[in-house]
Subunit: 115 residues, 2 copies
DNA sequence: TTTAGTACCTTGTATTGCAAGGTATTCAAA
DNA sequence: TTTGAATACCTTGCAATACAAGGTACTAAA
């Protein structure tokens, strides 16, 4: 169907905009490894693919927003636990503000639309 | 500065996700021409460039979500007024739902982050 | 007839999400 | 001891797309 295609496409677009923000939010709550981040995002209906998250974590690490440590697992290969840095936290504050601004913006247009 | 770069970059990303949604919302409130759509978005701090909006309007027209009519202006060249179609309205409903879902998702992660 | 303002549109570049494919580790069953 | 399943990591190549930059055209005033 074309209809759902348009919407699906846009849901994807919307998600893309908040990927880095979501990751930083999750890591601000505690250290996680890639697969668990994917799961946590899935839990709130923000779907991410592996091929998206790994390069992204590497990028955020390079930018100095994240760090990682290896940790053994009893149930498979070692896990790379990512943690947020101080720089990451300060940037996160900016993203919080950006998200709030965007939400307000959309709300405004929405209300105008209903008026 | 690099710091603001990271945030600016993400603000842009976030905006991108809601471009089509914003346009449909604005046109649901009344017919507008490209420049006025840009202005209305700017009014709520969602910045869009001309090079973004024109191809996008054409795409939405092709998808059948919009139509347009030419209208003379006393203050310059003719304006292309876009209007939302029935299909556009039905898709908009889906986008409303998508946005709500995303907002809730982010809220959830945010709250977990604060807990 | 030139300049300023407004409005339209296209081209080329750079970013980036993601499908697909690949490697490595552990554990349990055959 | 080999095979298979589960888990975890990562890379490559393609496709989509926002936007900077550059371009056309109409109106009105200087």
């Amino acid at each position: 169907m074309e209809n759902t295609g348009i919407i699906e496409n846009n849901k994807t677009q919307m998600r893309r905009g908040v990927l880095e923000y979501s990751i930083l939010l999750i890591l601000a709550a505690g250290d996680e490894y890639a697969s668990s981040i994917i799961q946590k995002m899935k839990d709130v209906n923000i779907i991410v693919a592996e091929g998206t998250i790994y390069p992204l974590l590497i990028r955020l690490k390079k930018l100095g927003l994240l760090n990682y440590r290896w940790e053994e697992s009893t149930q498979g290969p070692p896990r790379k636990y990512y943690m947020i840095t101080d720089l990451g936290r300060s940037q996160l504050a900016g993203l919080d503000a950006a998200w709030d601004e965007l939400s307000k913006g959309i709300e405004s247009i929405r209300n105008a639309s209903r008026a």
